[in-house]
Structures are given as C-alpha cells and as structure tokens.
C-alpha cells in the first residue's frame, strides 16, 4: 500500500475551491477548474464508444459504418469534422455531421432514419449518434475549420443560417444574436462568444461536441442548439431540421481558420 500515491480528482471536490472572491477571481477559478478536468475529460468514454460503433456490424443489414462518406470519400474520418456542414450529392442536401451519420446508419446499416431523428437525446440510437459524432470530431482535433462554399446550396444555407441567427421572436424577444453578436459579454459568469465572426481557436462552433460536467452529459452540436433554443424561449427545433443545419453552416463558415478542440469539456 505505501508504494503509491493516490490523487483522486473528483469534480465535487475541485469545485469547492471555486465559490469565493471577486468576479474576476471566480472566472479565473473556473478556468483552473476546467484545466484540472482536461486531463480526465469523460468525453473520451464517448470517443471509445463511438469508435467501436463505427467499426461494429450493426442494424438490419449487419454492416459497419466504415464505408460512410462524411464528405471526404467513403471511410475518411480525419478532417471530415472541420468541413461540415457541406453539400452531399447523394442526398441532394446540405448536411451536418449528425444528420450525415443518420443517413449512413440508414443507407448502410438499414436503420429507420426518421425513427432515429425522433429519438430523444441520450437515448437509444440517438445516444449512439452522439458517441459517433464525438469520435469523428476527435479525429480532427487541432485542425482548422474550412467549410466548403463552392456549391450554391452551401452558400444558400449560410444565408439562411444568418437570417435564423438574427431571427427575434418569442415571449422574451430573444434571437441567437441577442447573446452572441458582441465581444466580451457574459450571462452570469458564462462568457459568450461572438459567433458572427471567427471567435477564436476552440471557442463556439470549434468546441462542440463537449462533455458537460454540471449534468454529466455528452452534448452534440444538435443538442447544443436545441438547448439554446429552449433558453431562447422558442418552441422545439426538429433534430437535423434545415434551421439547425443552416445555423451550423453560418457558424462554421464564420469560424474559418479556428482550430477545433472538440470534444471539449464544459461547466
């Protein structure tokens, strides 16, 4: 027993050291806390699961996803994440990572795509889509966002996304822009990136999927947008609906040159 040193870093204990001091100290404290967690980002558990799911023969057709084309050719995973959403000729649509994965699960594995899209986040095949997205994002870690804009549909989705971003409605008159169109602002202690331009490496679009420590959940970009709309007091956006993909095109093209740190770890 005496020939080892144990240091169990437990989230609850680490958080106890934050709480006091002035606003700046608190922000600094939270940054330190995040740094401590980086070494043991539970997103890795989802990466492992995602990699296994990619290679495993599953679904009615008992096939793996290894021939799935994420935009760089069948089976190419590295670099795919930083070029999505993009236009796919086979579906005739601009697709983000998650909607493309659902397409592959349908065409290659024989899953019912509409069923998957209706499944709540964190359950059944939807949880598998999130794990797959986490692993695929990991393969582009450190690479810079460079979404294609050559296809007219890609440019059209950017324009639709921009309009959705500024669309103000609901009981609180909020839009995405209410919180994400200025520099150096916060809600409570949470910094808000300006998503109308490149907000910097590993910020905003370049940070999700991310593991949320506060609720112990792995959040994909679709879930991130879904919860933004919940807090915006909007009704419920359909999974992989055009508005969610168009917002991805808008934020992704704006983030050109930003290095991806996904999967990140968040409060």
């Amino acid at each position: 027993m005496k020939h080892l040193i144990t240091s169990a870093a437990v989230a609850a204990l680490a958080f106890a050291s934050v709480g006091t001091g002035f606003a700046q100290d608190a922000t600094k404290g939270i940054e330190e806390y995040r740094k401590m967690l980086e070494d043991g980002n539970p997103a890795e558990l989802f990466e492992m699961k995602g990699e296994e799911l990619w290679k495993q023969k599953r679904g009615p057709k008992q096939a793996s996803l290894e021939k799935c084309d994420l935009g760089k050719g069948p089976g190419v995973v590295k670099g795919a994440f930083v070029e999505l959403p993009r236009y796919f000729a086979d579906t005739g649509r601009v697709q983000d990572l998650e909607s493309r994965l659902v397409t592959c699960m349908g065409t290659l594995q024989g899953f019912n795509e509409e069923e998957i899209k209706k499944t709540p986040f964190g359950r059944g095949e939807m949880a598998n889509v999130t794990a797959l997205a986490t692993w695929i994002a990991t393969a582009s870690r450190g690479m810079r966002f460079n979404l294609p804009t050559a296809h007219p549909e890609e440019r059209r989705f950017y324009e639709l996304g921009k309009r959705a971003f500024f669309y103000r409605a609901g009981p609180h008159d909020f839009s995405c822009a209410a919180c994400h169109a200025q520099e150096n602002i916060r809600i409570r202690l949470q910094d808000l990136p300006n998503l109308t331009k490149n907000p910097g490496d590993g910020v905003g679009f370049a940070a999700w999927p991310a593991y949320r420590v506060s609720n112990g959940q792995m959040w994909s970009m679709q879930l991130r947008l879904n919860d933004c709309y919940r807090q915006q007091r909007f009704p419920y956006p359909g999974f992989a609906s055009d508005v969610t993909i168009a917002l991805g095109s808008y934020m992704g093209i704006n983030a050109k040159g930003a290095a991806s740190i996904a999967p990140a770890i968040k409060r």
């Binding site: 009981p171 008159d173 209410a178 409570r188």
Partner: protein, 213 residues
C-alpha cells in the same frame, strides 16, 4: 446626379449577382421565414406560434438596425402600450425584488406554467445589481447604485417622478426607449405582473435597498 448613377449601378449589380449565384436577398428572406415557421414544433408551454413576429421583432431581426422612421414607430407604439401602476403605486418590497432579480426561471419548454408567479426577472443574467452578487452578466449596463446615481433620495419627492416613470416604463416595455433593446418586455408580454414590477422598482430605486448603499 452622381449618387443616382451609383444607386442604379448597385441595383444592376444586384440583379446580375442574383442571376449568377442563386436566390436574391428578398427570396432568401422569404425562404428563411418559411424555414423558421416549418422547422419548430410545440413542446409543453412553448408553442410554435411563438415564432410569429410583431412589427418590432421583425424589424430587429437582421444585422442592421431598422430605419429611423421604423424605430420611431416601434418606440411610439411601445410607449403607448405601457400600463402605469394602479393608483400611482410604483413601489413594493426590495427583498422580494432581489429574489425575482436572481431567478432566471420561466417560459421555456421545460417550465410547466406561463403564470407570472412562476417567472423570474432574469435580471442578474445580464446586469450587475447588488454588488454582493458576483455572478452577474454584462449584456446590459450595471445597475449598482441605480437610484443613488440618479439622485433619488426620497421616492415621494416630485423631483424623482421622471426617473420613477422611466424605470417603470423600461421594465414594462423596454422597446419604448430603444426599439431593438435586448431586454424583454416584462409587463407587455405578461412575464411579470404589476406587483412583481413594483418589487423590482423598490430594488432599483428605494434609497434603503442594498443596491443604493
């Protein structure tokens, strides 16, 4: 003369660009609007009809502010919509006001009621108010010493009437003073009732409130 030519040239360029690369800005506006209406569904208390915009919401939905004349129209309509407090009673209880200011609850699809009593003011999400609370947002200006800075020593003093009325109006319908304000219209949209707004008024303006120490 020169200016007219420039405008005509710009218009021609737009038409050409429209032919060369997909839909025109107006077509995109229409497509975006149809997309917003089609892509959301009811969930709990958050109904899809929340996406229908009023004049102000529609005019404040782009990266450019609306024309001055439109902004003035929005502000005038908002000002006319303000309900002033019954019996001229502007004040309540600042301790209740602080609790309301702290609460960010209400109106999301995970909330179960749209009643004002179940809503918070969300104030600290965007504003510094009492300095004792370090976890405050910075989207709106600091409201620390709100009444003190504005010289409110006695809320019954007629000299304080103008700032009292302005503050009530801002809480009831923020768009009365800034057409595209990011602040919700708490009274107008029935997020908070008169009693709750009185409590927030006391928090901000009462010389005894911790905010004005």
């Amino acid at each position: 003369m020169h200016k007219t030519h420039a405008i005509l040239a710009a218009a021609a360029a737009t038409v050409l660009a429209g032919c060369a690369s997909g839909p025109s800005p107006a077509e995109l506006d229409a497509q975006a609007k149809a997309m917003m209406m089609a892509n959301f569904r009811d969930q709990g208390i958050a109904k899809a009809d929340r996406l229908k915009q009023d004049l102000g919401q529609a005019a404040c939905s782009s990266d450019k502010p609306p024309a001055d004349s439109v902004a003035k129209e929005i502000e005038a309509a908002a000002l006319a919509s303000i309900q002033w407090p019954a019996g001229g009673q502007y004040f309540g209880d600042w301790t209740r006001g602080e609790r309301l200011a702290q609460s960010g609850r209400g109106m999301t699809w995970t909330d179960t009621s749209t009643a004002t009593k179940d809503n918070g003011g969300n104030c600290y999400n965007c504003h510094q108010i009492d300095k004792a609370e370090i976890s405050h947002g910075t989207i709106g200006p600091s409201l620390w010493n709100y009444g003190k800075i504005r010289g409110v020593k006695d809320v019954t003093d007629p000299a304080s009437a103008a700032i009292i009325q302005y503050t009530w109006g801002k809480l009831w319908n923020s768009k009365a003073y800034t057409a595209c304000s990011n602040m919700p219209r708490f009274g107008h949209m029935k997020l908070l009732d008169e009693g709750q707004i009185r409590d927030l008024m006391s928090l901000l303006l009462d010389p005894r409130s911790p905010v004005n120490q």
